[in-house]
């Protein structure tokens, strides 16, 4: 088995808020991230797939196909959008880096021809990231 990783970037805005809590509770738990006017990041997405090398092509997966799937399933929907207001999965879930990694996994899972999704890593900042491996 070999692992292959492809990166992509998207820029989006978000805020952290739990409707079940008072404004004071939101402020206490989420701090500046709870500012209701939102704020934004340049996110970097790393998608790692696992598979066997096809002896005919030398590929695990066709990189162009992987890029197209990432573009269609994630970037086209997230890039230059407000995650809370414009992306359906974050109507209910807080768009933390962890939840973004889970949501991207669910968008990509089983859509990559010939390889198995191994890890989704989302960088919110160069020094802050979340990993999801599809674990329950």
């Amino acid at each position: 088995m070999i692992l292959l990783t492809r990166k992509a970037e998207f820029s989006a805005s978000h805020y952290y808020w739990n409707d079940a809590w008072t404004p004071e509770e939101n402020q206490r738990v989420f701090g500046r991230c709870a500012n209701r006017n939102g704020h934004g990041h340049n996110y970097t997405l790393e998608v790692t797939v696992a598979g066997e090398v096809d002896p005919a092509t030398g590929f695990v997966v066709d990189l162009k196909q992987l890029k197209d799937v990432m573009e269609r399933e994630v970037i086209a929907i997230y890039d230059h959008r407000h995650l809370n207001l414009e992306v359906p999965e974050f109507k209910t879930a807080v768009p933390t880096t962890e939840n973004i990694a889970v949501a991207i996994w669910q968008r990509l899972d089983s859509k990559i021809p010939g390889a198995r999704l191994h890890r989704v890593r989302v960088y919110e900042l160069p020094d802050l990231f979340a990993d999801f491996y599809g674990e329950a």
């Binding site: 738990v29 939840n99 191994h118 890593r121 802050l128 990993d131 491996y133």
Partner: protein
Amino acid sequence: MKAYLGRRYRLSASHRLFSASFSDAQNQSVYGKCANPHGHGHNYIVEVIIGGAIDPETGMVMNLVDLDACVDREVLQPFDHMNLNTLEAFRDIVPSTENLCIEIERRLSRALPQAQGLTVRVEETSNNFFEFSSDRASAPASQTRQAEGQR
């Protein structure tokens, strides 16, 4: 849903790699310029990856403010801008980056008992780094790497 939160911190410190039981010539032969008598320093990067269930209320594995405070208290305050050779943790062991990585993991695993998997990676320069995970519940990627390495 189990996910992993990763955070990178900077830490500047000096060290000298040598063993008191070796002769000067042996130290020079084993450690090379790292054994120069007055030590040298690095801008280390400490990457901490902590696993856990995503809290459905907050969307978080762990609140970043709490993780930052913990790493500051357990790692940055004791080690940043220090000479590692002078510290209690390295009184009997060489302050190699392998040992620094293990020491940081040990401190954090003690301070974060709720972690379902902890991996510490220390980058000594942009060209070399070390990773340590004392438990079996660390990220699947680390397990894969260990498995691959054993083949």
